[in-house]
Symmetry: C2
Subunit: 128 residues, 2 copies
DNA sequence: TCCTCATCTGAACAGATGATCAGATATTAG
DNA sequence: CTAATATCTGATCATCTGTTCAGATGAGGA
């Protein structure tokens, strides 16, 4: 064990201080981290994830079709879309009485794809 | 509006029934969806996300260095690693008294990269 | 063996969160 | 304008989740 000083001046004891310093210097700042985990948290709810995969598949759907596609109450869908919209994950387009939603970002599409890939091609959790 | 029958036999009213059917047929099944959202949920906690970005940066770190790097109590780190380990997101390797953790999967690294990219290069949420 | 250090675990409390309901808003048809 | 349809919103409640604490476990040195 050796002793180093953290960025905040506190004395820190660590096994690999150079790695600790590397991490402390390059880590996402608080705001960035908050936004990153907020995105993941949005995708972390099964209801919202279901809606997002539906949009990934269909490209664009109105609330009532989303509700029908995912066997979810419309109010629940609306509630979920409210959050997704507020974070810019989906975008709404009004056409007459209907509002059509789509994934607003290629990054999100990539996240959904990669994770589904991860799940279907990796060993079951808890094996390692 | 037109009327179609869902896979469950219930009558469904929709604007674009062909898209609804497309989604219903290709959507992730319940188990797949649960596992996908479980992964996202794990990344959705700021504490865990911080740890994962630390591991992404350092490659491998023991619990005490992780705690020091992220200014988090060791018990909290340990608790977080317990969950990440159980889902196969990180892997632990014992070396003497220390346990060194690393990201166990390239998919996870990609998710972390893409999302940080997403956050840093996209407009603030709520603007669209 | 005994002691210390690093890490893990189960329990408990406080705070966050999602589904649901009832009512509000917006848009179009009549 | 009024009615009807689609979507949205605020509030409530049951549930989940993260942090913390105290003690257990496992490894290494004396």
């Amino acid at each position: 064990m050796s002793v180093v000083e953290g960025l905040d001046g506190c004395v820190v004891v660590g096994v690999h201080p150079e790695k600790v310093r590397l991490v402390v210097e390059n880590a996402p700042d608080a705001d960035e981290l908050t936004r990153v985990s907020a995105v993941f948290k949005l995708l972390g709810d099964p209801t919202r994830a279901r809606l997002l995969y539906a949009l990934l598949e269909a490209g664009e759907l109105c609330v009532c079709d989303l509700a029908a596609s995912t066997a979810t109450a419309e109010a629940t869908v609306s509630q979920a879309l409210r959050l997704l919209r507020a974070s810019g994950v989906v975008t709404g387009r009004r056409e007459g009485r209907n509002v059509f939603y789509r994934l607003s970002d290629a990054h999100v599409r990539l996240l959904l794809d990669v994770t589904r890939e991860h799940i279907t091609h990796e060993p079951e959790p808890g094996r390692r």
